[in-house]
């Protein structure tokens, strides 16, 4: 039986259990409420319908592209009239249009995101002032989650529907057009920036020409001045419509045009004028790209800058993919992470290029940092252990080490390739390609991994006419030719005193002497050695360069260089006996972004049960406290027994035990004490201190959960989310291969799970073999594992006590969870993805196959999402709990995809590299700043394998990683308790990293974090709302009575504390560092203004009086 069949069989087994549990009638529905979908077509049907559409999609898919299917389906839905040959009524046509656009949009968004459900409010057929009928598409706020392209296509689908229904185009009048212009400006000034800010002319042009009315629900409480237009229902901003126009139709004009042409939809040619605008991402010149400091525009307190843009000593660009990289996750040496402390596995960084952000994963086959210790010695840090040992002696981080960037990242971001760092895997290929190389005469494999001595390095270079080995190539390009000559003169001067002017001879002598190395007095020239990256030790007032490095240095820089007319590297090459490559031609800037995360999801406050108790449970919403009142009055569902007609609020009649039907909801007196007592009896639990409920239900029907579920959740210390599922959230990281021992799984267990061979095709026997992960298997964090154990206990208790079935999981240890099915679900989406636990990581993240993350529409630049136990979701999830408000269906498992088809997931994942090494030609192309799309013939990636068996296996990596969770598991940001300490740490780190300007960081934190925060909060303080401590009612302005209408006390929503929270630390920073006077004065001014707001002139006087 194949992998997918095994998963399916297990899944169906759980569905059967859930079915028999639900058939007992304790829940509102008698069956599990998550339909199973094998593929996109079934997901679409499950998510938006209509019934039977899945079959039609599959039928069409065999002949035409997915986009064409979407449009075809839309047309079929609206043109299929209820009565053959007779037009439907207006209402029916509106309903069908509504269905059509949702279905088509769901097909285009892979049936995962919530946009087709929540992004479109409705479709309406309205009339022009010339009395013709046209179609209006009403967008809602959540269209944002679909992305610009989908929003634009929704408009195009709307037009297609309009044409299919033979309706007229929308003819806007001037006031309506100007309304859009105003709204765009207002949205940007009052709500948030658009990804693309269209000029007023562009908006006018778009509105005039889009053949349907793009309108929508009000999204923000901001009124426009073009009010009370006859055809526009709201005077507030229509955020969804603006997104669809600006970030959709206008920003994605070329794409929309392409589709319109392909589908032969007329009337979109005008978009041509938008698409002429140059693509801001395209670097037209072939010269090195300019400094890009976008990632540094906001420097946040406690999140250190790791490297300035292109700064020497920053991260060195190295191409390749380790088994835990890709989808925006990039490798950094664990010793770098250890030394900077602010990077852990899964920490997000905002980076200079190729994209905007990444997630840090450990990779120990790349170069680590070079650091200067307090005693002055310079050390290349090569292992995590070494890093741990020396990290407190580090005075300066001269070089941060490599950042391993998969080729696919450049492809994904359509960023021109940048020159690659000189590395051993490149060097080896130059030998293989050289004319004098024959297979037999060198052991290439060992050359790449083993250390070779300096003498051999030179010999190889001479023999095969290849550049010098990367270990012996220093960062010559980081110093000037003058520096080089100074260094040479210095060494000459020192060595001549020992009467031996021939440096080459000296080098031979030192080398032959063995141990000693090259001894030089400590002098300013030491800095040049440091910048070049040449390690040296300190002995008294002497520095010692090892004999290997001494040999290389004296042989390379054997005489002074020409200082005129060439760069340093060229100058060095003119004197060196062998070719010297640029060690680090591309440095990447970065700063720390969001920290890694792995934590159970808790609402605030976190309930054990979705059971409303009003304010009766006190601040902690404790159902037990509420029950002490006996009978309470709450807003809750009303149900009526189908047999005896008795009213209740449960799915089973409390009198005769028959099923009930919900009738309405409203204020009702319930005897909570009784209910709770019964529930205790039902589940055989005697007493619990606290079971937390909710104040009120936010769902339409206000149907409560059975109290039994709350008791059992409280007993097992787990919490429910708004949809009655239990979630655990983690940062996403990719994983294509694992080592059984590192994820805590035995070969035996792996065999049971259907794994057979390791990457070399050998049978799995040894826990240290490397195994390719199956695409729906996930490695969750240990913390997640522990929580899921408690969830499994809850589910077992539930099965046994409430539903009267056998316990299912029977889990004792984490290992027992291996093989269990889970659901992965991302925010803003509505389709869960089936997964299977295969092991555990110590890191605070969820490692899974890139396809798994992509199927949830996530990448790995610090996106986090949730995992649920499948049986918990099947038993407890119900649509009846979902909020009735807009967006309520997001982040809920409305459908479950049981099988991942790489062709049907986000095409981001198609850029994953699958190469055992980066080919020599590709390295050479990077030096020419080629576009990644122009070198695809050199690359093996997922895209190439789509549709074949190879899409599931053989996605090999180029760089090994000995452990996917080496390096720190928690970054310093999270362990330091106060902002002051975080900022102190950040600034101390800035002082230590060569590629960072400490003063700049202090100023950056003040300018982009603390000052705006204080200014914003003190402004907000003087126009704030107040809130009731008891009932939570908010007032725009405090009532004249000073109290809430419920009689309770009111409190400020912005306290003095939040206004002044960064004042002391800002003042402190301004005193300790020589920052710009401008900033110092801004801090002073803010202090003056804060004091004026919070200190009474009276108290100042009276304190003076004391002295007088």
């Amino acid at each position: 039986m194949g992998y997918f069949e095994v998963l399916e069989k297990e899944t169906l087994k759980l569905y059967e259990i859930a079915k028999s549990a639900r058939s007992k009638g304790h829940d509102i529905e008698l069956e599990p409420e998550i339909p199973l979908a094998k593929d996109l077509a079934e997901r679409v049907e499950g998510l938006v319908g209509p019934k039977g559409v899945a079959a039609r999609i599959k039928e069409l898919e065999t002949d035409i592209s997915r986009e064409e299917v979407a449009f075809q389906i839309a047309r079929e839905i609206v043109t299929d009239t209820d009565v053959e040959g007779r037009d439907d009524t207006l209402e029916v046509r509106e309903q069908k249009s509504d269905q059509a656009i949702r279905t088509a949009l769901a097909i285009l968004t892979e049936g995962v995101v919530a946009a087709p459900l929540e992004g479109i409010a409705k479709l309406k057929i309205k009339r022009n002032f010339d009395s013709g009928y046209y179609l209006a598409v009403y967008f809602a706020g959540p269209i944002r989650s679909a992305g610009g392209t989908a929003a634009a296509l929704a408009v195009l689908i709307g037009d297609y529907i309009r044409i299919s229904l033979e309706l007229d185009t929308y003819k806007p009048v001037d006031t309506e057009i100007e309304r859009y212009v105003e709204e765009v400006e207002l949205y940007e000034s009052e709500v948030t920036n658009l990804q693309y800010s269209p000029k007023p002319e562009e908006v006018r042009k778009a509105v005039k020409n889009i053949p349907v009315e793009v309108t929508g629900e009000p999204t923000d409480k901001i009124e426009v001045s073009h009010r009370d237009l006859e055809r526009v229902e709201t005077n507030n901003i229509r955020g969804g419509a603006l997104l669809a126009i600006a970030e959709g139709v206008i920003q994605k004009a070329p794409k929309v045009m392409k589709y319109a042409k392909k589908l032969k939809i007329d009337g979109w040619d005008w978009l041509g004028e938008f698409s002429k605008a140059p693509d801001p991402n395209a670097d037209d010149s072939d010269a090195a790209p300019k400094v890009d400091d976008k990632y540094m525009r906001d420097i946040i307190g406690g999140r250190p800058v790791m490297a300035y843009p292109q700064a020497k000593g920053g991260f060195r660009l190295r191409y390749g993919r380790s088994r835990n990289a890709g989808l925006a996750a990039m490798g950094v040496h664990p010793s770098t992470m250890e030394i900077v402390e602010f990077l852990a596995v899964g920490t997000q960084m905002k980076i200079e290029r190729p994209g905007k952000g990444n997630c840090v994963v450990p990779c120990d086959s790349i170069e680590g940092p070079i650091v200067k210790l307090k005693d002055g010695s310079v050390v290349k840090v090569e292992s995590e252990q070494q890093a741990k040992k020396i990290k407190y002696q580090v005075e300066e981080i001269v070089f941060l080490g490599d950042m391993l960037v998969p080729f696919g990242e450049f492809l994904r971001n359509n960023h021109i390739m940048l020159p690659a760092g000189w590395c051993s895997e490149w060097w080896v290929q130059t030998i293989q390609k050289s004319e004098s190389y024959q297979e037999s005469d060198l052991d290439i494999k060992s050359l790449e991994t083993e250390k070779i001595d300096a003498k051999t390095a030179f010999e190889i270079s001479e023999k095969y006419d290849v550049p010098l080995h990367p270990d012996y190539t220093y960062c010559y390009h980081d110093v000037t030719t003058q520096d080089i000559n100074e260094l040479i003169q210095f060494i000459n001067r020192e060595l001549k005193t020992s009467d031996d002017p021939d440096l080459k001879a000296v080098s031979e002598r030192i080398y032959d002497e063995g141990s000693g190395g090259l001894k030089l007095p400590i002098s300013p020239e030491k800095r040049i050695l440091e910048v070049l990256g040449i390690p040296h030790e300190i002995d008294g007032d002497e520095l010692i360069i090892s004999r290997e490095d001494a040999y290389v240095l004296l042989n390379t820089l054997n005489r002074p260089v020409e200082t005129e007319g060439s760069n340093t590297l060229e100058a060095v090459n003119s004197i060196a006996p062998v070719q010297i490559m640029a060690k680090a031609p591309t440095y990447l800037g970065a700063r720390v972004g969001r920290p890694e995360k792995s934590k159970e999801r808790k609402m605030k406050p976190a309930p054990h049960a979705l059971f409303p108790i009003g304010t009766n449970g006190g601040n902690r919403r404790n159902i037990i406290d509420a029950a002490k009142k006996g009978t309470i009055n709450v807003d809750i569902a009303r149900c009526k027994c189908t047999e005896c007609g008795v009213g209740s609020m449960q799915a089973l009649c409390p009198v005769c035990g028959a099923r009930t039907e919900p009738t309405s909801s409203g204020k009702k007196r319930i005897n909570l004490a009784n209910l709770l007592k019964k529930a205790y009896e039902n589940v055989g639990v005697r007493k619990i201190d606290e079971i937390k409920g909710v104040v009120g239900m936010i769902s339409e029907d206000k149907f409560p959960e059975p109290l039994e579920k709350g008791i059992l959740r409280a007993k097992n210390d787990v919490f429910t989310f708004k949809d009655a599922t239990i979630r655990h959230d983690s940062t996403n990281l990719p994983l294509t291969h694992f080592i059984p021992s590192e994820i805590g799984v035995t070969p035996q267990k792996l065999l049971e799970l259907g794994y057979t061979n390791d990457i070399h095709g050998d049978k799995i026997e040894d826990p240290d073999q490397i195994v390719e992960i199956k695409i729906q298997d996930v490695v969750v964090s240990e913390n997640c594992g522990d929580y899921l154990i408690r969830v499994s206990h809850f589910v077992d208790d539930l099965l046994e006590q409430l539903y009267g079935l056998e316990r299912f999981y029977n889990v004792q240890t984490r290992e027992d969870l291996v093989g269990q099915l889970v659901v992965g679900l991302a925010p803003h989406t509505s389709a869960g993805v089936l997964g299977r636990i295969v092991g555990f990581t110590k890191a605070a993240c969820c490692y899974a196959h890139p396809y798994f993350h992509s199927a949830k529409r996530r990448n790995c630049d610090s996106d986090e999402d949730s995992i649920m136990l499948l049986l918990d979701a099947l038993l407890n999830f119900s649509k009846v709990y979902l909020p009735s408000t807009r967006g309520g269906k997001m982040d809920a498992p409305l459908v479950l995809s049981s099988r991942i088809d790489p062709e049907e997931i986000d095409d981001e994942s198609h850029n994953i590299d699958a190469m055992p090494y980066i080919p020599l030609e590709l390295y050479e192309k990077t030096l020419d700043f080629e576009k990644p799309s122009d070198v695809l013939d050199l690359v093996d990636n997922v895209k190439r394998r789509l549709g074949t068996e190879d899409q599931y296996q053989g996605l090999i990596y180029s760089h090994t990683t000995s452990s996917i969770h080496s390096g720190p598991k928690v970054c310093l940001y999270k362990t330091l308790p106060t902002m002051k300490e975080k900022v102190d740490g950040q600034i101390k780190l800035a002082e230590r990293i060569r590629a960072v300007d400490q003063k700049g960081v202090v100023e950056g934190v003040l300018t982009s974090h603390f000052l705006p925060d204080m200014a914003g909060n003190s402004r907000a303080f003087s126009r704030q709302k107040v809130r009731c401590t008891k009932c939570g009612r908010k007032y725009r302005r405090i009532p004249l009575s000073g109290n809430c209408s419920c009689g309770s006390n009111l409190i400020l929503s912005i306290s003095k504390g939040s206004v002044v929270k960064y004042l002391e630390i800002s003042k402190n920073l301004s005193q300790r560092y020589p920052i710009d006077e401008y900033l110092v004065q801004r801090i002073e001014l803010i202090e003056t203004s804060i004091n004026s707001l919070f200190e009474s002139d009276k108290s100042k006087q009276s304190s003076l009086d004391v002295f007088l």
């Binding site: 402004r1019 003087s1022 126009r1023 009575s1041 400020l1052 006077e1077 001014l1085 002139d1097």
Partner: protein, 501 residues
Amino acid sequence: MKEDILLKFTNAELLIDDSAYEKIIQQENSVQVADSLIKDISSSNKDFFVLTESVVDNFLQQYLSNYQAPESKLKSDLETNYETQNETVKMPQSKLMDIPLDFHVLKDASKKSYTNGEIKDFTAYFNSRFQKLKAMLTKKPGLRESAPIKEAGNRDGVVNVVGMVNDIRNTKNNHKIMEIEDETGEMTVLIHNENHSLFEQAESIVKDEVIGVIGSKKGTLVIASELIHPSVPRIEEKTMDFSAVFISDIHIGSSTFQEEAFNNFVNWLNGDFGDETQQDIANDVRYLVVAGDVVDGIGIYPHQEEELTIKNIYEQYEEAARLLGQIDNVKMIIAPGNHDACRLAEPQPAIPENYAEDLYKLKNAEFVSNPSLVSLDGFKTLIYHGRSFDDLAMTINGLSHQTSDLIMKELIEKRHLAPIYGERTPLASEYEDHLVIEEIPDIFHTGHVHINAYKKHKGIHMINSGTFQSQTEFQKIYNIMPTCGEVPVLNRGALKVLKFT
């Protein structure tokens, strides 16, 4: 009948003193006399008036003679009489004459900030606003019998209340729903769109102003029949025998500060710039009022440093002292704006001395809060920078930054300088609401919008004094054209605008 006559004058917004009133009611056909007197006054375009006995006498003479002999020309005599009076008032060069200044600060909020930023301060602040404005409203006919909202809500029939507006919005059927409250409770008021004049009046109602409502109860709603603003009566015009100059928004330190225009202005004040008429005016100037934004400040908006020539707040004020220090023989009254080195929350205390030492050394400079009320030789001048214009322009249909005169008229009628809470204008939760317009000024001077405006409303000179800053990047984006270097001068009661660019 007596009430009828009084009401007629009240409705015409004319004040009448006792002796004049006595005179009128002594007339045989007093009602007709009153009518025709009101008609005469309103058609004669003289917006000054407290009706005194002598005016009534004059009128009666004319009225009776008209009655008896229609060819009489007494009416025109009356007018010429006034003109000649004006002529005789004109005196040469008041500044050069050695008349001592009669300057007083009538109201100033500096060093009276008693708030600790606690929630009780917020309660106190809004209650102070409510009580002050309620006191004004309950003196008005129609509201003298007003009841607390809670009480009125429990009664049937006619409702007569004073409340602070919580919310006002349009309903689906395009009526207006207004929620008001006082310290006893809340009330929902419906303004029906078929009551056209009332509905139109309600268009300018904003949140947090205090308003009187007369109406009738219908279920839980009150259907409004009359909405009453605190408003001001028409004031009597005083004779002004000097000139005062009004400026604001100088923005010293900004790269768009027009130093040349400002120097021309200073030279003009000192008698060294402009043609003869202009110099004549200059010689007549006794006061210079600055309504905020003396300097451009620092850190006011993101990336401001890129648009500053002086990036140091102390140096900005030093430069201000250097420029203003050249002005001789004119009293300067300086209030802060949102760019000055003050707290943003209003009322803003005067510019602190430690930031503007050199300015404080100027002997002829006086520093007041924003807002403040000063007396310039008996002319009560209300100075307010104008931050609240941003909110009113956004909220009331038809108002914009270009028409700050209309905004000022709204503020005067509402008797509050910054009624809307919670939007752009930060309000400090002081025990006392200093932004209530308690005393009716003769002159109301504002700035902030960088565009000149002038209007005479019920006898009050309302002046917005423009700017000395040319168009900024921000204004370019929003297509705002500032009136740069155009200075309003109140020249013996007449407004003149002098250009210095």
